[in-house]
Amino acid sequence: MKALEVREVSKMFPGNLANDRISFSVEKGEIFAIVGENGAGKTTLMNIIYGIYTPSAGTIFVNEKEVKIHSVEDAIRLRMGMVHQEFMLIPRFSVTENIVVGDEPRKGIFFDYTRAVREVRELSERVSLTVDAQATTGDLPVGIQQRVEILKVLRRGAEILIFDEPTAVLTPEETADLFVTMRKLQEEGKTILFISHKLKEVMEIADRIAVLRRGKLQGIVNKKDTNEEELARMMVGRNVVLEIPKLDVPVGDVAFACHDLHVKNSRGYEALKGVSFEVRGGEIVGVAGVQGNGQDELVNAMIGFSRPVSGSMELNRKSMHMVTTAQLRKEGMSYITEDRARRGLVMPYTVRDNAIMGQHLNKPFSRGLRMDYEKVAEFAEGKVKEYDIRPGDIYDTAGSLSGGNQQKLILARELSLPHNFLIASQPTRGLDVGATEFVYGKLLEEKKAGKAILLISLELSEILGLSDRILVMFDGHIVGETTPDKTTEEALGLLMLGVGIDRKVQS
């Protein structure tokens, strides 16, 4: 029996067709994966199925009956449940409160907490997902919090479970646990939709796999009949990503070095557990790794957003212990961020004003306290031409530009800062091919100019194509160092997943 079927579902956002006539069906008791790159339309599709968005066209069938899902309530009534990428949990609440809220055991108008705890315990035993029903949710590790999410969904009688990128925040052990759980749920007859962009995981857990690219369904394959290479081809739609020319540049002096860096993440766990490396002028050092293995914490420490617990950092052989972002930038650090909206640009500011942020205190943009906006405008006009930032009016707000043009603006600003060390953190995320090529070209120019570059990326093709040396990060450690000619995507992938690493040595 088909538990879920979507037929010709489309979703139109202003200026963007996020889902284009997508059709598939999922059998009861199946684990069905939907893969695609970031921005391929996976999450939009799931939000349509779960009633958060209304589709522009198309029909949805649940248990072979046509349904209209106008709201989350409708979806819950149809026995669907979603485990969101960002947890929908309230840290202050107990596990029990989080699981039962919205569908509470009652005694009249009263909330029957004792019974709720009992019910949660029974449920957690029945599905063998152990949690402490009375613990405060915020104190639990991420993997356990996800369990709470799953229990919440199960308690509402969900038969179809949607997991939206559930492994993005998990450690490998937690991921393994999750997969055990998913199999158990499958044995109980639940239907599972598993959204991911990690092909290894998909190949491990799914029965069938649908591939999305740019809002379109590329095809549905049985796991038995396919392999990662085929899936990857379908996902990216081309065999080779981009031909990146190899440049031989003489390696210069050490620009950046860190030694035994330990950094805590925002939740207070040590996410970076002793990292040492150096970057020299004229080389691109790639940092490969699955998201959430310490890259964010590394960047935060490097740009002065968080204080390392211990360890040292040097920029141009000067100690950068306890310095501010401003001092780091003065010392010659530039930073290209993947998060253009949060960290890259002030969106309501004009292109002109964004173009000089960070050097607005320098001549000729200001003298003393006074800004010289004429000089700023001249500079911005020049950069808009040089980087072909469209539509090209320096009085447009940054927020009105497309993603690619925003990234060009960031490049224009960061590369015009006096610098000799560049941090490029996922510099092509969410960009189209043209903009991606532009970014690659600029990075290579930088290398030619003898700058030291640290490239942090989740895209292996990018790492292999651009880097001179590759560092592999896993679980807060650098677990390997190699060069592009000595390795392959497969070998890197294994390293990134922590395969073959003796866990005892690390801890």
Partner: protein, 315 residues
Amino acid sequence: MNITQINVTIAQMLDYTTPILFAALCGVLSENSGVVNIGLDGIMRFGAFFGLLGAYFSHSPWVGLLLGIAVGCAVGALHAFITIRWNGDQTVSGVAVNVIALGLMTYLLEYIFSTTGYSPQLENYFGAQAYRVHLPFLAKIPLLGALSNLSVMIWLAFILTIVLHVLLYHTVLGLRMRTCGENPKAATTLGINVFRVRWFAVIAGAALAGIGGVALSTSSFSGFSDSMPNGIGFIGLAAMIFGKWTPFGAMGAALLFGTGQIVQSIIAVTGIAPNLAPGLTLILPYVLTLAVLAGFVGRSVAPAADGLPYYKEQR
């Protein structure tokens, strides 16, 4: 200081505490659902005037109470309309309520009573003997004796504190309200109607502030004065924060701040520190509240989504 004096002082302290407590409870209810209401001072002013108005013309404070609640609800609905229906800035809306209350009550006072500054005094008010709760068995017990003859509004405040505690922590609605205050998006994914819950919390909270106003003009005092509520709404706000956004915490804080209000009369009675300026004791609630907010003494943290408008992702 003899036992009678102590009892009188305690009763007087409770008189001051009551309006503060009502205001604080308004804040607790509203903010636990995620809506900040700094207009509660203005709502108290509405309640104080209309409570008096009802009591004056009907000769029954109960009518005043009902009228005060009704008007409180209406003003609360205005705040909800601005902040929930139209995602207006909650602080700006609160300021608007306060300023309107300031002007409109003076206007109505002069229009209805043709007086300036003070309304006529009430004879039948909650402070009068007929409207007190007599518990003679307490009279003989030291200290508790103060509780033997209190205005019904004082008891109402403490009963409503318990009711609110039960509502927030032991009912389904309360759990959902707190969910909306902590993470409205999560609430939506669970099928909870965030807007409806917030509307309820804001209006019910405003009703409490309205009662607080009524308590001020018909229980603590027997008339409306143009300076009411004299910042008591803001002391209530402070009490809510000092009480960590919980009903019992707010009650404790209101009792403490109520005591602060009568320090001068304690000084008069006891003769301790006769030269202490009133200004130095009046600032107590605010200094303490800043101290807990800053984490110098304990730590008070607001609900996570407090004060943030909620936009439903409906595209």
